[in-house]
């Protein structure tokens, strides 16, 4: 479904990704771990199409299409979803209006009919239950006055509404307490299907107790330095990253 080959990217003058190669098949959960500055978030952002990053080499083929040539909205319409690490606020725009517009934009790109506000509200009710959020949040402005936990749950709510094929979770667990973590993880797990895939970017092993990965990759200095199964995450928890990561970007 997703074939990344030797992907390189930079932000401004800083090289961050130095050659990532990775393949993701439908039904799989891949965890990306690594120390600060390794490029984990950048990978997710680049795949989603954040214009702040410039791709300098390599490729990413998604469903046979050149992902990197598509603007962000096209990638979204093709089923790519990014759960942001720091969801931004949009004053004056209600969650309901925002979600319905996004939902309809994606439906329209697939040649499907748009839904009206009433139909959409019905559809929303089940999705809200998934992340334990109240219907009244729909009338609030996007992420305005939301606690950190609520913002992260809002990201998963959007994921539930838009039903992506490739979900990129960018440090979704950062800033969450145990209860919020469970809700978020349950939400993600409930959305898992044999035909979609998830890339989970995280620092800590803890999230992976709830969202169990099929593969774990460790990023350091912009490259994948080791891949393994969920056992690798436990090893990292016990030993830290030092045994894998040498200074100056050398590979262990």
């Amino acid at each position: 479904m997703l074939e990344i080959t030797d992907l390189q990217a930079k932000a401004g003058n800083r090289e961050i990704l130095r050659g990532i190669t990775l393949t993701v098949e439908p039904g799989e959960v891949h965890a990306i771990m690594g120390p600060n500055g390794s490029g984990k978030s950048t990978l997710a952002q680049v795949l989603a199409g954040n214009p702040a990053y410039e791709v300098t080499g390599g490729s990413a083929i998604y469903d046979g299409k050149d992902l990197l040539a598509m603007p962000p909205e096209e990638r979204a319409q093709a089923g790519v979803f990014l759960a942001f690490q720091y969801p931004v606020e949009i004053p004056g725009v209600s969650n309901a209006y925002f979600l319905r517009t996004a939902f309809n934009a994606i439906r329209q790109s697939r040649g499907e009919d748009e839904v009206d506000p009433i139909e959409f509200l019905d559809y929303m009710e089940k999705k809200l239950e998934l992340v334990d959020m109240d219907v009244e949040m729909l009338s609030r402005s996007v992420n305005m006055g939301f606690s950190g936990g609520e913002k992260k749950r809002n990201e998963i709510l959007q994921m539930a509404v838009l039903e992506p094929r490739l979900a990129l979770l960018d440090e979704t667990d950062s800033g969450l307490d145990i209860d919020a973590l469970r809700i978020v993880a349950n939400g993600v797990n409930a959305l898992k299907r044999p035909d979609n895939a998830t890339i989970v970017v995280t620092h800590y092993q803890r999230l992976l107790n709830y969202i169990v990965p099929d593969y774990v990759h460790v990023l350091a200095h912009g490259r994948i330095v080791k891949s393994g199964d969920k056992g690798l995450a436990l090893e990292l928890e016990a030993k830290g990253y030092d045994w894998l990561v040498e200074p100056q970007g050398a590979v262990a």
């Binding site: 214009p51 909205e73 990638r75 979204a76 004056g92 517009t101 996004a102």
Partner: protein
């Protein structure tokens, strides 16, 4: 790649065309002869000619003010044509009598003077250049005793009303442009709503500046008698021109006891091309007087056009418990400049005023909010709430705020909030990542920003305003 600076896509000003109906104009320049000529062409009574001449005399002693935050080439007032009328001589009884070329123009402007408009319950008084053409729904309004006609017609049919109120809110000595307008005003709208009558439809005027070099000097007078209610829409477009066009209108509103006047404007005059060439100069004096107790005057404006906008729709809160409101969205893009705001003068007791100003700056535009809240000595328990927010798009535009507060009564209360924000690539990315196109993303963010003002607009205007905003800001984010 950085911030993906997009090339500016200036959608061609879609109303940029000229109607080649013969326009009857008078020679350029302004002196007593000019004023007499204008007055004679309109068959005005002596008292009005005298009024004009007084204003002209005063104007010649006044100097153009330069305290605003806008810059422009000096205007040669002798190089302007002060009158232009289309050559349809006879008075038009119905819309079918309207010159087909004019009808075509209205069609292009998207103004349907047909039954469709009627179904939307809007009465339309069309002003083309300096002379009114046709009025609709007169009969329906007549039944209620509501007078809605061109200013010129009001002078003929209802001179006592005009004489009583003309200049009562904006005297000709008020300022340079008001004096100029008072001397050479061409036409405009007149409305009188009798005691206790609620006007059942939104009243509206469309007009445009056509002949090159013509200054448009509209004069509008709206009176709501005791307990009356009227909602008025002003919206205008203008053709693309190379020479700057001066627009110095005066609008006076009078609300008597328990009366309400709601005045909404969506303004889209030609703003000049992407190099700042051409464009309308919009120097307007708009003022309302809450003369009676419990009266209310509300100004709502969405300004997206003009090369330069200089206007302060204001309210004089004379009657006890009267209410003044000002809701504004002012957009400047490319090289546009705006110095706009309001003056709320609290004279009576328990008077209230609300000011919500949203300024959006893009391109190399420069936007200034200038507001004055004055609490006079007798304004016991008066309250004002002011919120002025600026949104900056890009790195080359400017937003400024000049709030003035003068309080001479110790029981008055004022609240002032201000914020500045920048539309960021991160907000755009958040929305595009959810499948929303970039263009719609900017629209959504801006609409969210302007929500508090848009919700004050009558429905049909709100839609037009939102579209206008989208068009005005196209290609500006990056």
């Amino acid at each position: 790649m950085g911030g993906s600076i997009e090339t500016l896509v200036n959608r061609e000003y879609q109303y940029g065309f000229v109607t080649d109906i013969e326009a009857e104009t008078i020679p350029r320049g302004l002196d007593e002869q000019t004023v007499r000529l204008i007055s004679a062409k309109k068959n005005e009574p002596q008292w009005l000619l005298d009024w004009r001449l007084k204003a002209l005399a005063r104007w010649t002693t006044m100097k153009e003010p330069h305290w605003s935050n806008v810059k422009y080439e000096p205007i040669n007032y002798q190089d302007v044509i002060y009158f232009s009328a289309p050559k349809t001589a006879k008075k038009l009884g119905s819309l079918d009598d309207v010159d087909p070329k004019l009808r075509e123009m209205y069609g292009k402007l998207g103004i349907s003077l047909s039954e469709q408009k009627r179904l939307n319950n809007v009465a339309v008084d069309v002003v083309m250049d300096s002379v009114s053409v046709g009025t609709s729904f007169k009969a329906e309004l007549n039944k209620l005793g509501i007078i809605f006609c061109s200013f010129g017609e009001a002078v003929r049919e209802h001179p006592d009303l005009v004489r009583k109120y003309l200049g009562s809110v904006v005297p000709h000595s008020d300022n340079f442009f008001a004096a100029l307008n008072s001397a050479v005003f061409s036409d405009g709208s007149f409305c009188y709503v009798p005691k206790g009558v609620r006007c059942p439809m939104e009243l509206s005027t469309y007009f445009r500046i056509n002949a090159e070099g013509t200054g448009q000097f509209e004069r509008t007078l709206i009176i709501a008698d005791e307990g009356a209610y009227v909602s008025y829409l002003e919206g205008c477009t203008a053709p693309k021109r190379d020479t700057n066009q001066l627009h110095a209108a005066v609008v006076e509103l009078i609300a008597l006891k328990d009366a309400t006047i709601k005045y909404s404007t969506v303004q889209n005059w030609f703003a000049g091309d992407e190099n700042g060439e051409g464009g309308i100069f919009n120097f307007v004096t708009k003022r309302g007087k809450c003369a009676g107790e419990n009266s209310k005057i509300s100004w709502t404006q969405v300004e997206t056009g003009s090369a330069i906008t200089w206007k302060y729709p204001s309210v004089i809160l004379q009657g006890d418990n009267s209410v003044g409101e000002f809701y504004s969205v002012a957009v400047v893009n490319n090289h546009q400049q705006a110095d706009t705001g309001t003056k709320m003068t609290h004279i009576g007791r328990n008077t209230r005023s609300t000011i919500v100003s949203k300024g959006i700056s893009a391109g190399q535009g420069n936007n200034s909010y200038r507001g004055q809240v004055k609490m006079m000595p007798k304004a016991a328990n008066a309250r004002n709430y002011t919120q002025c927010d600026s949104m900056l798009i890009g790195n080359r535009c400017g937003a400024h705020t000049f709030p003035y507060i003068e309080v001479q009564n110790p029981t008055a209360t004022l609240e002032h909030e201000a914020s500045t924000s920048k539309i960021g690539e991160d907000q755009i990315f958040y929305l595009t990542q959810r499948g929303i196109s970039r263009e719609n993303a900017v629209s959504m963010i801006v609409a969210g920003f302007c929500k508090d003002v848009f919700k004050e607009l009558p429905m049909e205007f709100a839609l037009e305003a939102q579209q206008l905003l989208g068009i005005t800001l196209e290609g500006s984010v990056g």
